[in-house]
Symmetry: C2
Subunit: 114 residues, 2 copies
């Protein structure tokens, strides 16, 4: 078993409520949802977080966002709206050391964003 | 003058506290900051929001995030942490109809993210 929670989920070693899976990207429901729709979009490859991205990850990053947007559309959120959040480090609120994008929607999101 | 606030800023018609500018991407301080560092990263080209992105924008999206990450690093936020937020639509909290990424840091960000 991987020492990284999200690597273990990507490997199928820990179950998740899967929303999307391809060779590069996985999306699954957050286990502690903060909105009616709260989905995490991650790269299968272990990337610790935003600080660990290389310029060669430019397209991967773009595809992660477009995948999250596609999931928002599938959930009927295009019209009402939704929010993307990526946390880095302790003050950013990152709690798992594997890059992940939060897609939140289904309620009025507030300001400030945490 | 453009009818889009951020197009007007990108065109230099409305002043901003500029953080970064290149042919493709502009970054400037949010006029209503929600954290000690609160910077907006936008494409110069008018894109209404996440819903308006095309697959041909994949690399642009990735570059926007890597630019925001570089700015976070310049501000000394790599260690303590920071948060990226992109809002779409009313429930997402989007208030300007031109795609923009919020970079927030310099304080403990809370959960939920709004």
């Amino acid at each position: 078993m991987s020492s990284c929670l999200f690597c273990s989920i990507a490997a199928g070693e820990i179950p998740c409520q899967e929303i999307h899976a391809d060779d590069e990207i996985l999306a699954f429901a957050d286990i502690d949802p903060q909105a009616p729709t709260h989905i995490l979009v991650i790269p299968r490859r272990h990337i610790g977080g935003l600080n660990d991205l290389e310029s060669s990850d430019t397209e991967l990053l773009g595809r992660m966002l477009l995948r999250a947007r596609a999931i928002a559309a599938e959930r009927g959120l295009t019209g009402p709206g939704y929010r993307f959040v990526i946390n880095s480090g302790d003050e950013g609120g990152q709690t798992v050391g594997h890059l992940h994008l939060h897609l939140l929607g289904g309620r009025q999101m507030q300001w400030p964003p945490g």
